[in-house]
Symmetry: C2
DNA sequence: AATCTATCGCAACTCGAAGTTGCGATGCGT
DNA sequence: ACGCATCGCAACTTCGAGTTGCGATAGATT
């Protein structure tokens, strides 16, 4: 609701306050989690009074979703190296970097520590994932044109196979996630693709070879 | 802390109350999420007064962790069909069933909607996952002995590859998860194993083939 | 069946955080 | 330097977590 341009001419300090509160919101989020994130602590961390926060944002949820929306606008570059191996590796590593960066940590914390039941957050989670899927699809299309991948693949399935182990380690097993995790995901994904395990549609075919 | 035998002779209605509160806790958890789960609503749903809950459990966290501990004690059967395909398929389907059952939904809700920052919950999450990994490992060992799988595999990596897409769909993309999801995970995992992408240790080798 | 005792129901608290309101102070553009 | 929007501040209301004292009840014992 305050996401557009400033309401009018008098935008003196507003922008600075807004940025400070956004940063403080994400910082408190990663420290305390959504359930323990208090508006008063956010305000204090931003060097601002509680009332000011409530004047700009309707409630805690709006503050959270607005702060996240700003950090989710950063789009990832789509690699185009001429090789599907290096393309996928760059893609997987960018996923790792995005999720392990401070902003990524905040987004994960928001999505999986209390705000997940908010419909706005749940919708944003799916939308962000779908966006990245759509944006990464040309990588696969070009690989097919170059003859490096079979043509009968399900692009969304391929990219989900690539991302799944990274999310699993971050959210479930709490293992360290770095480039080796990304590279490992690439190997598994390429093996599955070349074995024809990620063909579109026919997911009801028998499991055996 | 109340998990052992009843403290003394007088255990009349205690057990029934305890069970009712546990069930109500998990039910409220899936409905509202951890952040919005109030003790008063849990008590009302269990047909019990708020004070009674606080007499048996120290606080909300203890109530939650205790209720979860009881439902996580259910161990999954380890398949042994003589074929790695059917074994893995049974394994993947049991993961799907465990996570989509009412109790599984409650566990997921607890782990990913607010309680994730509680150290007890985070530790329980890793421990449960590790337990299931360890319990499923004989499936892979027997497959190697039968010559159905190469001997140089990392069992934990194999099982994580199997589970990862199921968790991704449940937690991120919110897609429906059923047997076809499980079977698809089996195909990808087997393809990766047979291509040598899940060998132990050397995860720092080059990505290319 | 009468009784004894732990457990439960109930009401009335304290405490902290969400969210609101009115007024006075301050910073920004003109 | 001035005017106006914005901010700081304090004093609220509301709600849920967690506590306490007392009276009521259900289970096991005799």
């Amino acid at each position: 609701m305050w996401s557009g341009q400033p309401p009018a001419r008098p935008v003196g300090r507003g922008a600075k306050v807004r940025a400070a509160v956004h940063a403080a919101t994400l910082a408190e989020l990663v420290d305390k989690g959504y359930a323990s994130m208090t508006v008063e602590n956010v305000a204090q961390r931003a060097g601002v009074h509680k009332t000011t926060v409530y004047r700009r944002w309707k409630d805690r949820e709006s503050l959270l979703t607005d702060a996240l929306a700003e950090h989710m606008a950063t789009d990832i570059p789509v690699p185009d190296t001429g090789s599907i191996e290096t393309d996928l590796r760059a893609l997987a590593r960018s996923i790792v970097q995005a999720l392990t960066s401070p902003a990524g940590q905040a987004i994960l914390a928001a999505m999986f520590t209390g705000a997940a039941h908010l419909p706005q957050i749940a919708a944003a989670r799916r939308q962000v994932f779908d966006d990245r899927l759509a944006r990464a699809e040309p990588v696969l299309r070009r690989a097919i044109e170059r003859g490096q991948l079979p043509a009968d693949i399900d692009p969304a399935e391929v990219l989900k196979t690539l991302a799944a182990p990274i999310y699993l380690r971050l959210l479930i097993t709490a293992e360290p996630v770095d480039e080796t995790t990304a590279d490992q995901a690439v190997r598994v994904t390429l093996a599955a693709v070349r074995a024809g395990a990620l063909r579109p549609g026919r997911h009801d075919e028998p499991v055996g070879e």
